[in-house]
Amino acid sequence: MAGKLVKVNSVTSDGSATSLQVTGINSDHVYMAVSNLLQTQNNNEEIRLRVTKGGTEDSTSNYDYAGRKQSSVTFANKYAANQTSVLLHDNVDDANGGGQNILYLYNFNSSSEFTFLTYETVEAVSNQEAGSSNSACHTVASASDGIKIFGGSGGTFISGANITLYKIL
Protein backbone atom coordinates (compact mmCIF):
# COMPACT_ATOMS: atom_id res chain seq x y z
CA MET A 1 0.00 0.00 0.00
CA ALA A 2 3.05 2.27 -0.01
CA GLY A 3 2.76 5.39 -2.13
CA LYS A 4 -1.04 5.73 -1.99
CA LEU A 5 -3.68 8.15 -0.80
CA VAL A 6 -5.95 6.24 1.59
CA LYS A 7 -9.39 7.61 2.46
CA VAL A 8 -9.87 7.68 6.23
CA ASN A 9 -13.18 9.44 6.77
CA SER A 10 -15.69 11.59 4.91
CA VAL A 11 -18.65 13.72 5.98
CA THR A 12 -21.27 15.24 3.70
CA SER A 13 -23.92 17.73 4.73
CA ASP A 14 -27.53 16.75 4.07
CA GLY A 15 -28.46 20.41 4.09
CA SER A 16 -28.86 20.67 7.85
CA ALA A 17 -25.23 20.49 9.07
CA THR A 18 -23.79 23.54 10.79
CA SER A 19 -20.37 21.92 10.94
CA LEU A 20 -18.40 19.21 9.20
CA GLN A 21 -16.00 17.15 11.26
CA VAL A 22 -13.66 14.32 10.33
CA THR A 23 -11.54 12.35 12.78
CA GLY A 24 -9.38 9.28 12.52
CA ILE A 25 -5.82 10.61 12.61
CA ASN A 26 -3.98 7.99 14.63
CA SER A 27 -0.52 7.68 13.12
CA ASP A 28 2.51 9.80 12.39
CA HIS A 29 1.79 9.99 8.66
CA VAL A 30 1.07 13.25 6.90
CA TYR A 31 -2.66 13.49 6.27
CA MET A 32 -4.57 15.42 3.62
CA ALA A 33 -8.08 16.81 3.75
CA VAL A 34 -10.14 18.14 0.86
CA SER A 35 -13.34 20.16 1.15
CA ASN A 36 -15.78 21.30 -1.50
CA LEU A 37 -19.11 23.14 -1.69
CA LEU A 38 -18.51 24.98 1.60
CA GLN A 39 -21.51 27.25 1.12
CA THR A 40 -24.15 28.32 3.65
CA GLN A 41 -27.28 30.43 3.51
CA ASN A 42 -25.30 33.45 4.72
CA ASN A 43 -23.61 35.67 2.18
CA ASN A 44 -19.98 36.55 2.91
CA GLU A 45 -19.76 33.96 5.65
CA GLU A 46 -16.35 33.16 7.04
CA ILE A 47 -15.46 29.49 7.11
CA ARG A 48 -13.37 28.54 10.13
CA LEU A 49 -11.51 25.48 11.38
CA ARG A 50 -10.56 23.90 14.69
CA VAL A 51 -8.64 20.76 15.47
CA THR A 52 -10.23 18.01 17.48
CA LYS A 53 -8.71 16.16 20.38
CA GLY A 54 -10.36 12.93 21.38
CA GLY A 55 -13.12 13.77 18.93
CA THR A 56 -13.95 17.13 20.53
CA GLU A 57 -13.12 20.52 19.01
CA ASP A 58 -10.51 22.56 20.81
CA SER A 59 -11.80 26.14 21.06
CA THR A 60 -9.00 27.56 23.20
CA SER A 61 -7.15 30.68 22.05
CA ASN A 62 -4.19 28.79 20.69
CA TYR A 63 -4.48 29.10 16.92
CA ASP A 64 -2.01 31.10 14.85
CA TYR A 65 -2.26 31.43 11.09
CA ALA A 66 -0.54 33.34 8.30
CA GLY A 67 -1.08 33.46 4.60
CA ARG A 68 -1.63 35.38 1.44
CA LYS A 69 -5.01 36.17 -0.02
CA GLN A 70 -5.16 35.98 -3.83
CA SER A 71 -8.10 37.31 -5.79
CA SER A 72 -9.16 38.75 -9.12
CA VAL A 73 -9.19 42.26 -7.62
CA THR A 74 -6.55 42.40 -4.89
CA PHE A 75 -3.86 40.59 -2.92
CA ALA A 76 -3.41 40.93 0.82
CA ASN A 77 -1.66 39.40 3.79
CA LYS A 78 -3.82 37.57 6.31
CA TYR A 79 -2.50 36.66 9.70
CA ALA A 80 -3.47 36.39 13.35
CA ALA A 81 -2.22 34.85 16.56
CA ASN A 82 -3.87 33.38 19.64
CA GLN A 83 -7.23 32.89 17.96
CA THR A 84 -10.01 30.48 18.95
CA SER A 85 -10.07 29.08 15.42
CA VAL A 86 -8.30 29.25 12.06
CA LEU A 87 -9.72 31.47 9.33
CA LEU A 88 -10.03 28.96 6.48
CA HIS A 89 -12.01 31.07 3.97
CA ASP A 90 -12.29 34.86 4.36
CA ASN A 91 -15.80 34.88 3.05
CA VAL A 92 -17.81 32.75 0.70
CA ASP A 93 -20.82 33.59 -1.43
CA ASP A 94 -24.18 32.04 -0.60
CA ALA A 95 -24.34 30.81 -4.18
CA ASN A 96 -22.23 29.33 -6.98
CA GLY A 97 -20.47 26.74 -4.86
CA GLY A 98 -18.92 28.62 -1.95
CA GLY A 99 -15.44 27.52 -0.88
CA GLN A 100 -13.12 24.66 -1.80
CA ASN A 101 -9.78 23.76 -0.23
CA ILE A 102 -6.85 21.38 0.09
CA LEU A 103 -5.23 20.93 3.51
CA TYR A 104 -2.10 19.03 4.54
CA LEU A 105 -1.98 18.03 8.21
CA TYR A 106 1.32 17.56 10.05
CA ASN A 107 2.24 16.31 13.52
CA PHE A 108 -1.40 15.74 14.49
CA ASN A 109 -0.63 12.45 16.19
CA SER A 110 2.23 13.78 18.30
CA SER A 111 1.60 14.34 22.00
CA SER A 112 4.80 16.35 22.35
CA GLU A 113 4.57 18.72 19.41
CA PHE A 114 2.27 21.42 18.14
CA THR A 115 -0.24 20.63 15.42
CA PHE A 116 0.40 22.13 11.97
CA LEU A 117 -1.49 22.49 8.75
CA THR A 118 -0.97 24.11 5.37
CA TYR A 119 -3.95 24.98 3.26
CA GLU A 120 -4.90 26.43 -0.10
CA THR A 121 -8.33 27.70 -0.87
CA VAL A 122 -10.45 29.02 -3.71
CA GLU A 123 -13.94 30.45 -3.36
CA ALA A 124 -16.79 32.26 -5.03
CA VAL A 125 -17.29 35.67 -3.48
CA SER A 126 -20.11 38.01 -4.38
CA ASN A 127 -17.89 40.68 -5.97
CA GLN A 128 -14.73 38.78 -6.96
CA GLU A 129 -13.06 35.40 -7.18
CA ALA A 130 -10.63 34.66 -4.41
CA GLY A 131 -8.53 32.20 -2.48
CA SER A 132 -5.45 31.98 -0.35
CA SER A 133 -2.26 30.09 0.49
CA ASN A 134 -1.59 29.63 4.19
CA SER A 135 -0.28 27.72 7.12
CA ALA A 136 -1.62 27.45 10.64
CA CYS A 137 -0.55 26.06 13.96
CA HIS A 138 -2.33 24.96 17.11
CA THR A 139 0.21 25.88 19.75
CA VAL A 140 -0.56 23.12 22.20
CA ALA A 141 1.74 20.11 22.55
CA SER A 142 -0.85 17.39 22.52
CA ALA A 143 -2.22 14.97 19.96
CA SER A 144 -5.05 16.00 17.66
CA ASP A 145 -7.19 13.46 15.85
CA GLY A 146 -9.18 15.48 13.33
CA ILE A 147 -10.59 18.77 12.16
CA LYS A 148 -13.91 20.56 12.33
CA ILE A 149 -15.09 23.16 9.84
CA PHE A 150 -17.91 25.59 10.58
CA GLY A 151 -19.37 28.91 9.49
CA GLY A 152 -18.25 31.94 11.41
CA SER A 153 -21.86 33.16 11.57
CA GLY A 154 -23.28 29.74 12.37
CA GLY A 155 -24.54 29.11 8.85
CA THR A 156 -25.91 25.78 7.63
CA PHE A 157 -23.90 24.01 4.95
CA ILE A 158 -25.77 23.20 1.76
CA SER A 159 -26.53 19.63 0.81
CA GLY A 160 -23.40 18.11 -0.69
CA ALA A 161 -20.86 20.18 1.24
CA ASN A 162 -18.13 17.69 1.99
CA ILE A 163 -14.88 17.16 3.80
CA THR A 164 -12.80 14.03 3.25
CA LEU A 165 -9.69 12.99 5.20
CA TYR A 166 -6.89 10.92 3.67
CA LYS A 167 -3.73 9.29 4.99
CA ILE A 168 -0.70 9.66 2.74
CA LEU A 169 1.29 6.42 2.63
Binding site: L5, S72, T74, V122, A124, E129
Partner: protein, 172 residues
Protein backbone atom coordinates in the same frame (compact mmCIF):
# COMPACT_ATOMS: atom_id res chain seq x y z
CA UNK B 1 -6.49 1.23 -4.40
CA UNK B 2 -5.41 4.82 -3.96
CA UNK B 3 -8.11 7.46 -3.57
CA UNK B 4 -6.27 9.45 -6.24
CA UNK B 5 -7.40 7.67 -9.40
CA UNK B 6 -5.50 7.96 -12.67
CA UNK B 7 -7.79 9.01 -15.53
CA UNK B 8 -5.74 9.98 -18.56
CA UNK B 9 -2.34 10.87 -19.98
CA UNK B 10 -1.97 13.00 -23.11
CA UNK B 11 1.08 14.09 -25.04
CA UNK B 12 1.39 16.24 -28.13
CA UNK B 13 4.03 17.93 -30.22
CA UNK B 14 4.21 21.00 -32.46
CA UNK B 15 0.98 22.62 -31.36
CA UNK B 16 0.09 25.90 -29.67
CA UNK B 17 -3.06 24.49 -28.09
CA UNK B 18 -3.79 21.13 -26.46
CA UNK B 19 -7.28 20.14 -25.33
CA UNK B 20 -7.67 17.18 -23.00
CA UNK B 21 -11.35 16.29 -23.30
CA UNK B 22 -13.84 13.94 -21.66
CA UNK B 23 -11.80 13.67 -18.45
CA UNK B 24 -14.11 15.48 -16.01
CA UNK B 25 -17.27 13.51 -15.30
CA UNK B 26 -19.81 13.08 -12.53
CA UNK B 27 -17.57 10.34 -11.09
CA UNK B 28 -15.55 12.93 -9.17
CA UNK B 29 -15.97 16.45 -7.82
CA UNK B 30 -12.24 17.14 -7.41
CA UNK B 31 -9.49 16.56 -9.96
CA UNK B 32 -5.73 16.94 -10.07
CA UNK B 33 -4.17 17.96 -13.38
CA UNK B 34 -0.41 17.86 -13.97
CA UNK B 35 1.33 19.73 -16.76
CA UNK B 36 4.73 18.08 -17.05
CA UNK B 37 7.67 20.03 -18.50
CA UNK B 38 5.99 21.82 -21.35
CA UNK B 39 8.67 22.49 -23.92
CA UNK B 40 7.95 25.66 -25.82
CA UNK B 41 9.55 26.41 -29.14
CA UNK B 42 10.15 30.05 -28.30
CA UNK B 43 8.97 32.77 -26.00
CA UNK B 44 10.49 34.73 -23.15
CA UNK B 45 8.42 36.11 -20.32
CA UNK B 46 5.21 34.65 -21.72
CA UNK B 47 2.57 32.49 -20.09
CA UNK B 48 1.10 29.07 -20.70
CA UNK B 49 -2.54 29.70 -19.85
CA UNK B 50 -5.53 27.42 -19.64
CA UNK B 51 -9.25 27.33 -20.31
CA UNK B 52 -12.00 24.81 -19.77
CA UNK B 53 -13.74 22.72 -22.39
CA UNK B 54 -17.42 21.82 -22.65
CA UNK B 55 -19.25 19.60 -25.12
CA UNK B 56 -19.48 22.72 -27.31
CA UNK B 57 -15.72 23.25 -27.33
CA UNK B 58 -13.27 25.53 -25.57
CA UNK B 59 -14.89 28.13 -23.32
CA UNK B 60 -13.51 31.40 -24.67
CA UNK B 61 -16.07 33.74 -23.15
CA UNK B 62 -14.77 36.44 -20.81
CA UNK B 63 -16.11 34.69 -17.72
CA UNK B 64 -12.80 33.76 -16.10
CA UNK B 65 -11.34 35.55 -13.10
CA UNK B 66 -7.90 34.81 -11.71
CA UNK B 67 -5.35 36.00 -9.18
CA UNK B 68 -1.78 34.70 -9.42
CA UNK B 69 1.32 35.58 -7.40
CA UNK B 70 4.43 35.74 -9.59
CA UNK B 71 7.60 35.13 -7.56
CA UNK B 72 11.10 35.52 -9.01
CA UNK B 73 14.33 34.08 -7.59
CA UNK B 74 16.25 37.23 -8.44
CA UNK B 75 13.86 39.29 -6.27
CA UNK B 76 10.86 41.18 -7.54
CA UNK B 77 7.56 39.61 -6.52
CA UNK B 78 4.42 40.63 -8.32
CA UNK B 79 0.84 39.70 -8.94
CA UNK B 80 -1.25 39.11 -12.01
CA UNK B 81 -4.94 39.52 -11.35
CA UNK B 82 -7.85 40.04 -13.65
CA UNK B 83 -11.59 39.63 -13.87
CA UNK B 84 -13.64 39.03 -17.00
CA UNK B 85 -10.96 37.31 -19.01
CA UNK B 86 -11.05 34.65 -21.68
CA UNK B 87 -8.55 32.37 -19.89
CA UNK B 88 -6.90 31.60 -16.55
CA UNK B 89 -3.24 32.38 -15.92
CA UNK B 90 -0.97 29.39 -15.46
CA UNK B 91 2.72 28.93 -15.91
CA UNK B 92 5.29 31.58 -16.79
CA UNK B 93 7.60 30.45 -19.51
CA UNK B 94 10.87 31.85 -20.69
CA UNK B 95 13.42 30.84 -23.31
CA UNK B 96 13.87 27.53 -25.01
CA UNK B 97 16.54 25.31 -23.57
CA UNK B 98 16.66 21.57 -23.37
CA UNK B 99 17.32 21.84 -19.64
CA UNK B 100 14.92 24.46 -18.41
CA UNK B 101 11.17 24.22 -18.36
CA UNK B 102 9.21 23.35 -15.24
CA UNK B 103 5.81 22.03 -14.32
CA UNK B 104 2.38 22.91 -13.03
CA UNK B 105 -0.24 21.29 -10.81
CA UNK B 106 -3.89 22.31 -10.88
CA UNK B 107 -6.60 21.24 -8.49
CA UNK B 108 -9.99 21.55 -10.23
CA UNK B 109 -13.20 21.63 -8.18
CA UNK B 110 -16.82 20.97 -9.26
CA UNK B 111 -16.30 20.99 -13.04
CA UNK B 112 -19.48 19.08 -13.89
CA UNK B 113 -21.73 20.67 -11.27
CA UNK B 114 -24.29 22.80 -13.11
CA UNK B 115 -25.21 24.65 -9.90
CA UNK B 116 -21.73 26.00 -9.27
CA UNK B 117 -18.80 27.73 -10.88
CA UNK B 118 -15.69 25.70 -11.74
CA UNK B 119 -12.74 26.45 -9.49
CA UNK B 120 -8.98 26.02 -9.84
CA UNK B 121 -5.94 26.22 -7.58
CA UNK B 122 -2.71 26.80 -9.50
CA UNK B 123 0.91 26.15 -8.55
CA UNK B 124 3.79 26.15 -11.03
CA UNK B 125 7.51 26.62 -11.32
CA UNK B 126 9.75 27.33 -14.26
CA UNK B 127 13.31 28.39 -14.98
CA UNK B 128 14.30 31.07 -17.47
CA UNK B 129 17.80 30.51 -18.82
CA UNK B 130 17.61 33.78 -20.74
CA UNK B 131 16.74 35.71 -17.59
CA UNK B 132 18.71 33.49 -15.14
CA UNK B 133 15.83 33.08 -12.74
CA UNK B 134 13.32 30.66 -11.32
CA UNK B 135 9.74 31.88 -11.50
CA UNK B 136 6.99 30.51 -9.26
CA UNK B 137 3.31 31.14 -9.81
CA UNK B 138 0.65 30.35 -7.24
CA UNK B 139 -2.97 31.37 -7.06
CA UNK B 140 -6.55 30.88 -8.08
CA UNK B 141 -8.87 30.90 -11.05
CA UNK B 142 -12.63 30.61 -11.38
CA UNK B 143 -14.86 30.18 -14.42
CA UNK B 144 -17.93 32.17 -13.47
CA UNK B 145 -20.51 30.10 -15.29
CA UNK B 146 -22.41 26.97 -14.32
CA UNK B 147 -21.52 25.13 -17.51
CA UNK B 148 -20.72 21.45 -17.21
CA UNK B 149 -17.01 21.22 -17.89
CA UNK B 150 -15.57 18.07 -19.45
CA UNK B 151 -11.96 18.97 -20.11
CA UNK B 152 -9.16 21.47 -20.10
CA UNK B 153 -7.18 23.34 -22.76
CA UNK B 154 -3.60 24.57 -22.42
CA UNK B 155 -2.39 27.15 -24.89
CA UNK B 156 0.39 29.58 -25.70
CA UNK B 157 1.05 32.20 -28.36
CA UNK B 158 3.79 30.00 -29.81
CA UNK B 159 4.02 26.27 -30.45
CA UNK B 160 4.87 23.68 -27.84
CA UNK B 161 7.65 21.43 -29.11
CA UNK B 162 6.08 18.94 -26.71
CA UNK B 163 3.45 18.96 -23.97
CA UNK B 164 2.44 16.27 -21.48
CA UNK B 165 -0.69 16.29 -19.31
CA UNK B 166 -1.95 13.83 -16.67
CA UNK B 167 -5.39 13.89 -15.06
CA UNK B 168 -6.46 12.23 -11.81
CA UNK B 169 -9.81 12.09 -9.99
CA UNK B 170 -10.02 12.22 -6.19
CA UNK B 171 -12.38 9.72 -4.60
CA UNK B 172 -14.33 11.32 -1.71
Amino acid sequence: MSALRFISETTATSTSSLSVTDVFTSDFSVYKVELIRPDLNTGTGTYVDFRFVTSDGIVVSTDYGYGIEVMNSNAGFGSDLNANQGYMRGFRYSSNSSADGGGMVLWIFEPTNTSTYTFARVQAGSYSTAESKNVSTKGIGVLQTTDSIGGINFFHTNNFDSIHVKVYGLRQ
